[in-house]
Symmetry: C2
Subunit: 383 residues, 2 copies
């Protein structure tokens, strides 16, 4: 790590917390920023999100203990509601910071119980001190990989090239709720049975676009949901991702085709029955609710992360991240890069999520060392 002329020696007294839930040191100079999100999933683990903020605090602490001073401030951002478990949209506070949506719009969003972001922040005492977004010299985000590749390849650092593009959908299958007992099988318009086709298609579509293709149905609701009533309506989520925009467009087309095929197949099956009710075809509505184009990270900074790992003597490999981390929004307003730490058994969004913390040069100990190296060499922290 290069020596820099004195600028800040951070202490906890310098910390600031603003209305979008960011903790930072000071903001009188365009800072290098690091951080990640503080929220998690309903059954999430302790590393997804918090690790990146903790890594940033570790950097600050190490700089302070070693009395290393930088000209540009080194700022830690702790973003809220990145996962979107409680409020939509996801990546909420980084999105406000990067201008993807306005603060007013965001504060007005409500959870399922009708509680607004504004009220939820006020309740925990974080609503008062909003600051306007400011220029960022560079953004680094340390994050556990949430996947199995680093562990499988016995690498300590993942050098993230880009974030996957993603499309989210709400799909609704409209069938006909009817009594499970007398309604002959051939006459049924069973929305759940019909939905099984696109469920499987989402998986197949992702496999076609290996290795970066992802397809997931994480939510599915049945109406009216009674044991002996054929499902009249099924609504489910679809999450499609891949590394380039063209294949993502192909996946989108394939989803529409699979739903059209399922609707046609089961409408025709029902139409072979004797009842006039079968004349009402099965309909499948597809509504796209989120679209993030694939986001490459800043080439020079990605290279610096790779070189820093090399200089530190730790192994690394290039990886692709899915979309959905705050770095994706930050990459719209600043040169950005991500540093992955290995994740035990590749498991995340699960309470048993774990990281490799035992060895000083493995897993999550390294990104805090890589970060100032990369930042100083890339020039964001100017001597």
């Amino acid at each position: 790590m290069q020596a820099h002329s004195p600028n800040i020696v951070p202490t906890p007294a310098d910390w600031r917390i603003d209305g979008a839930g960011r903790a930072r040191l000071r903001d009188d100079l365009p800072p290098a920023m690091t951080g990640s999100h503080i929220d998690t999933q309903p059954t999430g683990g302790k590393f997804d999100g918090d690790y990146g903020g903790s890594a940033g605090l570790e950097v600050l602490s190490t700089l302070a203990e070693a009395n290393v001073q930088t000209i540009a401030p080194f700022e830690v951002a702790v973003w809220t509601n990145q996962e979107g478990s409680r409020f939509a949209p996801v990546m909420m506070s980084s999105g406000v910071f990067a201008g993807a949506f306005t603060l007013e719009h965001t504060l007005a969003q409500c959870d399922r119980d009708g509680v607004s972001v504004r009220d939820a922040l006020a309740e925990i005492g974080y609503a008062d001190e909003h600051r306007e977004p400011h220029a960022v010299g560079a953004y680094f985000e340390a994050h556990i990989e949430q996947g199995p590749l680093l562990e499988a390849h016995d690498k300590v650092i993942g050098v993230v090239q880009a974030a996957l593009g993603q499309r989210w959908y709400d799909v609704t299958v409209h069938g006909m709720d009817a009594h499970a007992r007398p309604t002959p099988m051939a006459l049924r318009r069973d929305a759940l049975l019909v939905a099984a086709d696109p469920l499987q298609a989402v998986h197949r579509i992702a496999l076609v676009h290996a290795p970066h293709g992802r397809g997931t149905v994480g939510r599915l609701g049945v109406h009216p949901t009674s044991r002996n009533v054929i499902a009249g309506r099924v609504k489910f989520s679809v999450d499609l991702r891949t590394a380039d925009d063209l294949p993502l467009t192909e996946m989108d087309r394939a989803l529409h085709a699979a739903c059209a095929q399922a609707a046609s197949k089961w409408s025709n099956t029902a139409a072979k029955g004797v009842s006039s009710s079968a004349n009402n075809p099965i309909a499948i509505d597809i509504k796209q609710v989120v679209y993030f184009p694939p986001q490459p990270f800043a080439a020079q900074w990605v290279a610096e992360v790779r070189q820093s790992a090399k200089r530190l003597g730790v192994s690394s490999m290039d990886v692709i991240n899915g979309a959905g981390d705050d770095a994706v929004y930050l990459a719209r307003v600043a040169p950005a890069a991500m540093i992955f730490a290995p994740c035990k058994d590749g498991i995340s969004h699960n309470e048993i999520e774990d990281a490799h913390t035992d060895h000083p040069e493995s897993g999550c100990n390294v990104p805090p060392q890589v970060m100032p190296n990369a930042a100083s060499n890339a020039g964001s922290i100017r001597a």
Copy 2:
């Protein structure tokens, strides 16, 4: 209709309502009983259940207006919680009446909000006046068909031969919840994707046992239910029915085989991945929660219903009913028969459920005429 010596001329003042929700006239002689249930499904229509009680009241009213008197009382039973939408088990009050379960056990059952049957009956003023079950000379139940066959064959009366046997199950697929973005497709243990296989198998199993085979998944819940979390656990209901016990046993075996095959297939698929997490196989638990053997109705009474329709000059056809009507329990303690009226477009358990009420000799006008004919000829109402 034969003339009978005077016994009762029913008036509303003679009505009694007891603690299990039955409305009846008097009980000093073993009566012929008719009736059906008063409850419905969350999105049920206005005929399923109430039609049978109304038909019974129509019989009583007609007997009274015509000053026809019978020796044995003619009793109308209005059963509660036949559908099981709020409380388990289904066919609750007819089950108590037939001794399938005790009154104490039944009154202690609670809905999802923890409200007991006892408290729910007390709240609507029906808890005080329980009467012990009594001997029944015969039981007739008029019901809309809840299916399309009578309408399709242009018949006015369905002569019900038997009720389908049924098995209900709770099936749980245990996968692994994980992040939808980084987790490679090949390593996933996606409980919802796995569940799509048995969902489709249930349909196929029913088709194999045509025409009486039925297979339905009406409820399905996903855990943890977030757009970007792979489903770790999926729980769904299965409802299998057919007319004879041997095929029902075969359907049961086929369900178990389909679940075992899905678990094996997807466990093996995941095991081809690079992560040690794939060593945990996918498990599918199947718990049978309800079993009703197929229930034939009383041969002599079924024949009398058919003959009565013929004497009245209305068309009829023999049909099979699914299990699940109160007549199934009553058939355990009395000779029982069911009379079906046509159902518009075969649709039931749906708010648009409708019946053919316009023509005096079609649809639901006829069973009230058939019933006393059949009852008197079969000797239950003795001259």
